[in-house]
Symmetry: C2
Subunit: 219 residues, 2 copies
Protein backbone atom coordinates (compact mmCIF):
# COMPACT_ATOMS: atom_id res chain seq x y z
CA UNK A 1 0.00 0.00 0.00
CA UNK A 2 1.68 3.21 -1.14
CA UNK A 3 1.28 6.61 0.47
CA UNK A 4 -1.15 7.92 -2.14
CA UNK A 5 -3.65 5.09 -1.98
CA UNK A 6 -6.59 7.45 -1.80
CA UNK A 7 -5.69 9.79 -4.61
CA UNK A 8 -3.42 7.71 -6.81
CA UNK A 9 -3.99 7.98 -10.50
CA UNK A 10 -4.22 4.43 -11.84
CA UNK A 11 -5.40 4.83 -15.40
CA UNK A 12 -5.74 1.10 -15.95
CA UNK A 13 -8.02 0.62 -12.98
CA UNK A 14 -10.16 3.61 -13.95
CA UNK A 15 -10.56 2.32 -17.49
CA UNK A 16 -11.63 -1.11 -16.31
CA UNK A 17 -14.07 0.33 -13.81
CA UNK A 18 -15.65 2.49 -16.49
CA UNK A 19 -16.01 -0.57 -18.70
CA UNK A 20 -17.76 -2.43 -15.92
CA UNK A 21 -20.00 0.52 -15.04
CA UNK A 22 -21.02 0.92 -18.66
CA UNK A 23 -21.83 -2.77 -19.04
CA UNK A 24 -23.71 -2.82 -15.75
CA UNK A 25 -25.76 0.22 -16.76
CA UNK A 26 -26.97 -1.63 -19.83
CA UNK A 27 -28.06 -4.72 -17.93
CA UNK A 28 -29.57 -2.98 -14.89
CA UNK A 29 -31.48 -0.51 -17.06
CA UNK A 30 -33.12 -3.28 -19.06
CA UNK A 31 -33.88 -5.79 -16.33
CA UNK A 32 -33.82 -3.88 -13.04
CA UNK A 33 -31.85 -4.79 -9.96
CA UNK A 34 -33.33 -8.26 -9.40
CA UNK A 35 -33.40 -9.20 -13.06
CA UNK A 36 -29.81 -8.26 -13.75
CA UNK A 37 -27.12 -10.90 -13.37
CA UNK A 38 -23.42 -10.38 -12.76
CA UNK A 39 -22.68 -12.98 -15.42
CA UNK A 40 -24.50 -10.91 -18.06
CA UNK A 41 -22.59 -7.81 -16.99
CA UNK A 42 -19.32 -9.73 -17.11
CA UNK A 43 -20.07 -11.03 -20.61
CA UNK A 44 -20.74 -7.53 -21.96
CA UNK A 45 -17.67 -6.14 -20.20
CA UNK A 46 -15.57 -9.00 -21.56
CA UNK A 47 -14.31 -9.98 -18.13
CA UNK A 48 -14.73 -13.02 -15.89
CA UNK A 49 -17.44 -12.69 -13.31
CA UNK A 50 -15.01 -12.82 -10.40
CA UNK A 51 -13.30 -9.75 -11.80
CA UNK A 52 -16.51 -7.74 -11.55
CA UNK A 53 -16.74 -8.55 -7.87
CA UNK A 54 -13.05 -7.82 -7.36
CA UNK A 55 -13.54 -4.27 -8.58
CA UNK A 56 -17.05 -3.56 -7.35
CA UNK A 57 -17.33 -5.58 -4.16
CA UNK A 58 -20.90 -6.76 -4.61
CA UNK A 59 -23.94 -6.48 -6.84
CA UNK A 60 -25.52 -3.97 -4.51
CA UNK A 61 -22.44 -1.72 -4.28
CA UNK A 62 -22.20 -1.69 -8.06
CA UNK A 63 -25.87 -0.79 -8.33
CA UNK A 64 -25.87 2.10 -5.85
CA UNK A 65 -22.69 3.40 -7.46
CA UNK A 66 -24.53 3.58 -10.78
CA UNK A 67 -27.48 5.32 -9.15
CA UNK A 68 -25.22 7.93 -7.57
CA UNK A 69 -23.36 8.52 -10.83
CA UNK A 70 -26.65 9.15 -12.60
CA UNK A 71 -27.98 11.48 -9.93
CA UNK A 72 -24.81 13.58 -10.06
CA UNK A 73 -25.41 14.13 -13.76
CA UNK A 74 -28.75 15.72 -12.91
CA UNK A 75 -27.33 18.31 -10.59
CA UNK A 76 -26.98 21.92 -11.66
CA UNK A 77 -30.37 21.79 -13.42
CA UNK A 78 -32.58 24.75 -12.51
CA UNK A 79 -30.08 25.59 -9.77
CA UNK A 80 -29.66 29.32 -10.37
CA UNK A 81 -33.19 30.57 -10.91
CA UNK A 82 -34.65 33.53 -9.01
CA UNK A 83 -38.00 35.34 -8.89
CA UNK A 84 -36.45 37.81 -11.33
CA UNK A 85 -35.67 35.16 -13.93
CA UNK A 86 -37.56 35.01 -17.20
CA UNK A 87 -39.96 32.03 -17.02
CA UNK A 88 -39.90 31.58 -20.80
CA UNK A 89 -36.15 31.23 -20.89
CA UNK A 90 -35.88 29.15 -17.72
CA UNK A 91 -38.60 26.68 -18.65
CA UNK A 92 -37.54 26.23 -22.26
CA UNK A 93 -33.97 25.71 -21.07
CA UNK A 94 -35.29 23.21 -18.54
CA UNK A 95 -37.16 21.32 -21.24
CA UNK A 96 -34.19 21.21 -23.60
CA UNK A 97 -31.73 20.28 -20.87
CA UNK A 98 -33.88 17.39 -19.70
CA UNK A 99 -34.41 16.20 -23.28
CA UNK A 100 -30.67 16.29 -23.89
CA UNK A 101 -29.87 14.49 -20.65
CA UNK A 102 -32.19 11.71 -21.66
CA UNK A 103 -30.55 11.45 -25.07
CA UNK A 104 -27.07 11.60 -23.57
CA UNK A 105 -27.59 9.03 -20.83
CA UNK A 106 -30.39 6.73 -21.99
CA UNK A 107 -29.22 3.74 -19.95
CA UNK A 108 -28.79 5.81 -16.82
CA UNK A 109 -32.25 7.29 -17.23
CA UNK A 110 -33.79 3.86 -17.67
CA UNK A 111 -31.86 2.59 -14.68
CA UNK A 112 -33.41 5.34 -12.59
CA UNK A 113 -36.86 4.57 -13.98
CA UNK A 114 -36.54 0.89 -13.14
CA UNK A 115 -35.51 1.78 -9.60
CA UNK A 116 -38.61 3.95 -9.19
CA UNK A 117 -40.82 1.24 -10.69
CA UNK A 118 -39.51 -1.23 -8.12
CA UNK A 119 -40.64 1.17 -5.40
CA UNK A 120 -37.33 3.03 -5.04
CA UNK A 121 -35.89 0.71 -2.35
CA UNK A 122 -32.45 2.32 -2.65
CA UNK A 123 -33.63 5.88 -3.31
CA UNK A 124 -36.42 6.51 -0.84
CA UNK A 125 -34.18 8.67 1.34
CA UNK A 126 -33.01 10.67 -1.65
CA UNK A 127 -36.54 11.20 -2.96
CA UNK A 128 -38.00 12.36 0.34
CA UNK A 129 -34.85 14.31 1.22
CA UNK A 130 -32.69 16.09 -1.33
CA UNK A 131 -35.07 15.80 -4.26
CA UNK A 132 -38.10 16.88 -2.25
CA UNK A 133 -36.24 19.97 -1.04
CA UNK A 134 -35.17 20.71 -4.61
CA UNK A 135 -38.77 20.53 -5.82
CA UNK A 136 -40.13 22.60 -2.93
CA UNK A 137 -37.56 25.36 -3.43
CA UNK A 138 -38.07 25.47 -7.21
CA UNK A 139 -41.84 25.45 -6.69
CA UNK A 140 -41.61 28.49 -4.44
CA UNK A 141 -39.85 30.49 -7.10
CA UNK A 142 -42.30 29.41 -9.77
CA UNK A 143 -45.15 30.37 -7.46
CA UNK A 144 -43.63 33.83 -7.13
CA UNK A 145 -43.60 34.11 -10.89
CA UNK A 146 -47.34 33.53 -10.80
CA UNK A 147 -47.85 36.20 -8.15
CA UNK A 148 -45.78 38.63 -10.21
CA UNK A 149 -48.13 38.05 -13.11
CA UNK A 150 -45.49 36.41 -15.23
CA UNK A 151 -47.56 33.27 -15.74
CA UNK A 152 -50.83 31.55 -14.85
CA UNK A 153 -51.42 30.44 -11.28
CA UNK A 154 -50.72 26.76 -11.82
CA UNK A 155 -49.47 24.35 -9.17
CA UNK A 156 -45.67 24.40 -9.67
CA UNK A 157 -45.30 20.80 -8.54
CA UNK A 158 -47.54 19.52 -11.32
CA UNK A 159 -45.65 21.69 -13.77
CA UNK A 160 -42.32 20.18 -12.72
CA UNK A 161 -43.77 16.69 -12.94
CA UNK A 162 -45.17 17.49 -16.37
CA UNK A 163 -41.80 18.55 -17.74
CA UNK A 164 -40.09 15.57 -16.15
CA UNK A 165 -42.55 13.07 -17.55
CA UNK A 166 -42.88 14.59 -21.00
CA UNK A 167 -39.12 14.65 -21.57
CA UNK A 168 -38.28 11.34 -19.92
CA UNK A 169 -40.87 9.63 -22.04
CA UNK A 170 -38.66 9.72 -25.12
CA UNK A 171 -35.83 7.85 -23.45
CA UNK A 172 -37.60 5.47 -21.11
CA UNK A 173 -40.33 4.63 -23.61
CA UNK A 174 -37.96 4.73 -26.56
CA UNK A 175 -38.97 1.19 -27.49
CA UNK A 176 -42.60 2.33 -27.75
CA UNK A 177 -41.80 5.60 -29.50
CA UNK A 178 -39.57 4.03 -32.13
CA UNK A 179 -42.01 1.18 -32.59
CA UNK A 180 -44.82 3.62 -33.32
CA UNK A 181 -42.75 6.01 -35.43
CA UNK A 182 -41.29 3.09 -37.35
CA UNK A 183 -37.70 4.24 -36.95
CA UNK A 184 -34.85 2.67 -35.04
CA UNK A 185 -33.69 5.85 -33.35
CA UNK A 186 -35.08 9.34 -32.83
CA UNK A 187 -33.84 11.54 -35.67
CA UNK A 188 -32.33 14.95 -35.04
CA UNK A 189 -35.29 16.47 -36.83
CA UNK A 190 -37.79 14.70 -34.59
CA UNK A 191 -35.80 15.67 -31.52
CA UNK A 192 -35.92 19.34 -32.45
CA UNK A 193 -39.58 19.08 -33.38
CA UNK A 194 -40.42 17.57 -30.00
CA UNK A 195 -38.50 20.27 -28.14
CA UNK A 196 -40.35 23.01 -30.02
CA UNK A 197 -43.68 21.30 -29.43
CA UNK A 198 -43.10 20.97 -25.68
CA UNK A 199 -41.91 24.55 -25.40
CA UNK A 200 -44.92 25.77 -27.34
CA UNK A 201 -47.54 23.82 -25.43
CA UNK A 202 -46.15 24.15 -21.92
CA UNK A 203 -45.21 27.81 -22.12
CA UNK A 204 -48.42 28.81 -23.83
CA UNK A 205 -50.39 26.52 -21.55
CA UNK A 206 -48.94 28.29 -18.53
CA UNK A 207 -49.69 31.69 -19.99
CA UNK A 208 -46.04 32.56 -20.58
CA UNK A 209 -45.28 34.81 -23.52
CA UNK A 210 -42.35 33.37 -25.48
CA UNK A 211 -40.29 36.53 -25.23
CA UNK A 212 -36.97 35.23 -26.51
CA UNK A 213 -38.36 32.78 -29.02
CA UNK A 214 -38.59 34.39 -32.42
CA UNK A 215 -39.27 31.33 -34.56
CA UNK A 216 -42.17 29.49 -33.01
CA UNK A 217 -44.34 29.55 -36.09
CA UNK A 218 -43.94 25.85 -36.88
CA UNK A 219 -44.32 23.46 -34.00
Amino acid sequence: MTADTANHENASRDRIEQTILSAAEQVFSQHGYRGASLQAIADIAGLPKANILYYMGSKQLLYVRLLNRMMNRWNAVLEDITPDSDPAKVLSDFIRTKMMLGQRYPEGSKLFAAEILAGAPFLSNYLSGELKEWVVSRAEIIHQWSQLGKMDDVDPRWLIFLIWSATQHYTEYSAQVTGILGTEVLSETDFESICRFLEHVILKGCGISASHLSNDSSV
Copy 2:
Protein backbone atom coordinates in the same frame (compact mmCIF):
# COMPACT_ATOMS: atom_id res chain seq x y z
CA MET B 1 -63.05 -34.07 -20.86
CA THR B 2 -66.67 -33.01 -21.02
CA ALA B 3 -68.42 -31.57 -24.05
CA ASP B 4 -68.30 -28.00 -22.82
CA THR B 5 -64.59 -27.86 -22.10
CA ALA B 6 -64.16 -24.55 -23.85
CA ASN B 7 -67.02 -22.64 -22.30
CA HIS B 8 -67.60 -24.42 -19.00
CA GLU B 9 -68.22 -22.22 -16.04
CA ASN B 10 -65.92 -23.38 -13.28
CA ALA B 11 -66.14 -20.68 -10.64
CA SER B 12 -63.47 -22.26 -8.49
CA ARG B 13 -60.92 -22.33 -11.28
CA ASP B 14 -61.69 -18.75 -12.28
CA ARG B 15 -61.27 -17.56 -8.73
CA ILE B 16 -57.89 -19.28 -8.37
CA GLU B 17 -56.68 -17.95 -11.70
CA GLN B 18 -57.64 -14.41 -10.74
CA THR B 19 -55.75 -14.82 -7.46
CA ILE B 20 -52.66 -15.95 -9.36
CA LEU B 21 -52.96 -13.19 -11.96
CA SER B 22 -53.29 -10.57 -9.26
CA ALA B 23 -50.27 -11.86 -7.36
CA ALA B 24 -48.23 -12.15 -10.56
CA GLU B 25 -49.13 -8.58 -11.54
CA GLN B 26 -47.66 -7.33 -8.28
CA VAL B 27 -44.37 -9.17 -8.70
CA PHE B 28 -43.89 -8.60 -12.44
CA SER B 29 -44.71 -4.90 -12.15
CA GLN B 30 -42.09 -4.36 -9.47
CA HIS B 31 -39.27 -6.50 -10.79
CA GLY B 32 -39.94 -7.03 -14.49
CA TYR B 33 -40.03 -10.35 -16.28
CA ARG B 34 -36.51 -11.50 -15.45
CA GLY B 35 -36.55 -10.24 -11.89
CA ALA B 36 -39.85 -11.88 -10.98
CA SER B 37 -39.82 -15.38 -9.50
CA LEU B 38 -42.62 -17.92 -9.50
CA GLN B 39 -41.90 -18.62 -5.84
CA ALA B 40 -42.60 -14.98 -4.94
CA ILE B 41 -45.85 -15.10 -6.92
CA ALA B 42 -46.82 -18.36 -5.23
CA ASP B 43 -46.13 -16.92 -1.78
CA ILE B 44 -48.36 -13.90 -2.40
CA ALA B 45 -51.09 -16.07 -3.92
CA GLY B 46 -50.86 -18.46 -0.97
CA LEU B 47 -50.33 -21.49 -3.20
CA PRO B 48 -47.49 -23.93 -3.77
CA LYS B 49 -45.29 -23.06 -6.71
CA ALA B 50 -46.26 -26.19 -8.63
CA ASN B 51 -49.84 -25.02 -8.52
CA ILE B 52 -48.97 -21.81 -10.35
CA LEU B 53 -47.47 -23.82 -13.18
CA TYR B 54 -50.43 -26.19 -13.22
CA TYR B 55 -52.81 -23.31 -13.93
CA MET B 56 -50.59 -21.08 -16.05
CA GLY B 57 -48.34 -23.49 -17.89
CA SER B 58 -45.14 -21.48 -17.68
CA LYS B 59 -43.70 -18.19 -16.52
CA GLN B 60 -43.83 -16.82 -20.04
CA LEU B 61 -47.47 -17.79 -20.65
CA LEU B 62 -48.46 -16.17 -17.36
CA TYR B 63 -46.59 -13.02 -18.33
CA VAL B 64 -48.07 -12.58 -21.80
CA ARG B 65 -51.50 -13.30 -20.38
CA LEU B 66 -51.04 -10.37 -18.00
CA LEU B 67 -49.87 -8.16 -20.85
CA ASN B 68 -52.90 -9.02 -22.94
CA ARG B 69 -55.27 -8.45 -20.05
CA MET B 70 -53.79 -5.00 -19.50
CA MET B 71 -53.92 -4.06 -23.17
CA ASN B 72 -57.58 -5.02 -23.38
CA ARG B 73 -58.32 -2.56 -20.59
CA TRP B 74 -56.94 0.21 -22.76
CA ASN B 75 -59.21 -0.42 -25.67
CA ALA B 76 -62.16 1.85 -26.38
CA VAL B 77 -60.09 4.92 -25.53
CA LEU B 78 -60.41 7.66 -28.15
CA GLU B 79 -62.14 5.11 -30.36
CA ASP B 80 -65.13 7.15 -31.50
CA ILE B 81 -63.65 10.54 -32.36
CA THR B 82 -64.29 12.28 -35.68
CA PRO B 83 -63.18 15.53 -37.33
CA ASP B 84 -66.47 16.98 -36.10
CA SER B 85 -65.73 16.19 -32.46
CA ASP B 86 -65.00 18.95 -29.96
CA PRO B 87 -61.24 18.88 -29.22
CA ALA B 88 -61.75 20.36 -25.78
CA LYS B 89 -64.14 17.63 -24.74
CA VAL B 90 -62.22 14.81 -26.44
CA LEU B 91 -58.81 15.75 -25.04
CA SER B 92 -60.01 16.46 -21.52
CA ASP B 93 -61.88 13.16 -21.56
CA PHE B 94 -58.71 11.51 -22.83
CA ILE B 95 -56.67 13.01 -20.01
CA ARG B 96 -59.15 12.01 -17.32
CA THR B 97 -59.65 8.53 -18.72
CA LYS B 98 -55.92 7.86 -18.80
CA MET B 99 -55.48 9.25 -15.30
CA MET B 100 -58.28 7.02 -14.03
CA LEU B 101 -56.92 3.95 -15.79
CA GLY B 102 -53.58 4.49 -14.09
CA GLN B 103 -55.26 4.81 -10.71
CA ARG B 104 -57.47 1.79 -11.35
CA TYR B 105 -54.76 -0.55 -12.60
CA PRO B 106 -51.48 0.65 -11.10
CA GLU B 107 -49.80 -2.74 -11.20
CA GLY B 108 -50.86 -3.37 -14.77
CA SER B 109 -49.58 0.02 -15.83
CA LYS B 110 -46.23 -0.60 -14.16
CA LEU B 111 -46.07 -4.04 -15.72
CA PHE B 112 -46.47 -2.44 -19.13
CA ALA B 113 -43.82 0.16 -18.30
CA ALA B 114 -41.34 -2.49 -17.21
CA GLU B 115 -41.93 -4.36 -20.46
CA ILE B 116 -41.18 -1.23 -22.48
CA LEU B 117 -38.10 -0.49 -20.38
CA ALA B 118 -36.77 -3.97 -21.16
CA GLY B 119 -37.07 -3.16 -24.86
CA ALA B 120 -40.58 -4.57 -25.35
CA PRO B 121 -39.41 -8.10 -26.25
CA PHE B 122 -42.98 -9.44 -26.03
CA LEU B 123 -44.76 -6.36 -27.39
CA SER B 124 -42.73 -5.25 -30.41
CA ASN B 125 -45.32 -6.63 -32.81
CA TYR B 126 -48.14 -4.93 -30.94
CA LEU B 127 -46.32 -1.58 -30.81
CA SER B 128 -45.43 -1.47 -34.50
CA GLY B 129 -48.78 -2.99 -35.51
CA GLU B 130 -52.02 -2.30 -33.70
CA LEU B 131 -50.80 0.55 -31.54
CA LYS B 132 -49.02 2.29 -34.41
CA GLU B 133 -52.19 2.15 -36.50
CA TRP B 134 -54.16 3.51 -33.57
CA VAL B 135 -51.80 6.45 -33.21
CA VAL B 136 -51.69 7.17 -36.93
CA SER B 137 -55.47 7.16 -37.28
CA ARG B 138 -55.98 9.35 -34.19
CA ALA B 139 -53.24 11.68 -35.41
CA GLU B 140 -55.03 12.15 -38.71
CA ILE B 141 -58.19 13.29 -37.00
CA ILE B 142 -56.30 15.65 -34.71
CA HIS B 143 -54.53 17.06 -37.74
CA GLN B 144 -57.87 17.75 -39.34
CA TRP B 145 -58.88 19.66 -36.22
CA SER B 146 -55.86 21.88 -36.82
CA GLN B 147 -56.79 22.45 -40.43
CA LEU B 148 -60.32 23.33 -39.40
CA GLY B 149 -58.90 26.01 -37.12
CA LYS B 150 -60.05 24.26 -33.96
CA MET B 151 -56.55 24.20 -32.50
CA ASP B 152 -52.91 25.08 -33.15
CA ASP B 153 -51.01 23.21 -35.83
CA VAL B 154 -49.06 20.96 -33.49
CA ASP B 155 -47.71 17.51 -34.36
CA PRO B 156 -50.49 15.16 -33.17
CA ARG B 157 -48.01 12.39 -32.38
CA TRP B 158 -46.16 14.52 -29.85
CA LEU B 159 -49.49 15.57 -28.38
CA ILE B 160 -50.54 11.96 -27.87
CA PHE B 161 -47.17 11.12 -26.34
CA LEU B 162 -47.47 14.15 -24.07
CA ILE B 163 -50.81 13.06 -22.69
CA TRP B 164 -49.61 9.49 -22.30
CA SER B 165 -46.46 10.45 -20.44
CA ALA B 166 -48.01 13.16 -18.26
CA THR B 167 -50.78 10.85 -17.02
CA GLN B 168 -48.75 7.67 -16.71
CA HIS B 169 -46.20 9.52 -14.61
CA TYR B 170 -48.45 9.48 -11.56
CA THR B 171 -48.80 5.72 -11.52
CA GLU B 172 -45.42 4.52 -12.78
CA TYR B 173 -43.46 7.11 -10.80
CA SER B 174 -45.80 6.93 -7.83
CA ALA B 175 -42.86 6.13 -5.57
CA GLN B 176 -41.18 9.35 -6.64
CA VAL B 177 -44.35 11.43 -6.53
CA THR B 178 -45.37 10.28 -3.08
CA GLY B 179 -41.80 10.60 -1.83
CA ILE B 180 -41.70 14.22 -2.95
CA LEU B 181 -45.21 15.10 -1.83
CA GLY B 182 -44.61 13.39 1.51
CA THR B 183 -47.83 11.37 1.36
CA GLU B 184 -48.32 7.64 1.07
CA VAL B 185 -50.95 7.79 -1.64
CA LEU B 186 -52.28 10.42 -4.00
CA SER B 187 -55.25 12.12 -2.36
CA GLU B 188 -58.51 12.65 -4.20
CA THR B 189 -57.88 16.39 -3.98
CA ASP B 190 -54.46 16.08 -5.59
CA PHE B 191 -55.85 13.80 -8.28
CA GLU B 192 -58.50 16.34 -9.21
CA SER B 193 -55.98 19.17 -9.06
CA ILE B 194 -53.65 17.31 -11.43
CA CYS B 195 -56.46 16.61 -13.88
CA ARG B 196 -57.45 20.27 -13.95
CA PHE B 197 -53.84 21.35 -14.35
CA LEU B 198 -53.23 19.02 -17.28
CA GLU B 199 -56.48 20.04 -18.95
CA HIS B 200 -55.63 23.69 -18.50
CA VAL B 201 -52.04 23.53 -19.77
CA ILE B 202 -52.53 21.09 -22.63
CA LEU B 203 -55.76 22.57 -23.99
CA LYS B 204 -54.58 26.15 -23.65
CA GLY B 205 -51.15 25.16 -24.96
CA CYS B 206 -52.74 23.72 -28.07
CA GLY B 207 -54.89 26.78 -28.57
CA ILE B 208 -58.11 25.02 -27.70
CA SER B 209 -60.82 27.13 -26.05
CA ALA B 210 -62.25 25.25 -23.10
CA SER B 211 -65.81 25.46 -24.35
CA HIS B 212 -67.48 23.06 -21.96
CA LEU B 213 -65.34 23.82 -18.93
CA SER B 214 -67.03 26.47 -16.81
CA ASN B 215 -64.88 26.25 -13.70
CA ASP B 216 -61.27 26.54 -14.82
CA SER B 217 -60.45 29.49 -12.64
CA SER B 218 -58.37 27.54 -10.16
CA VAL B 219 -55.87 25.13 -11.64
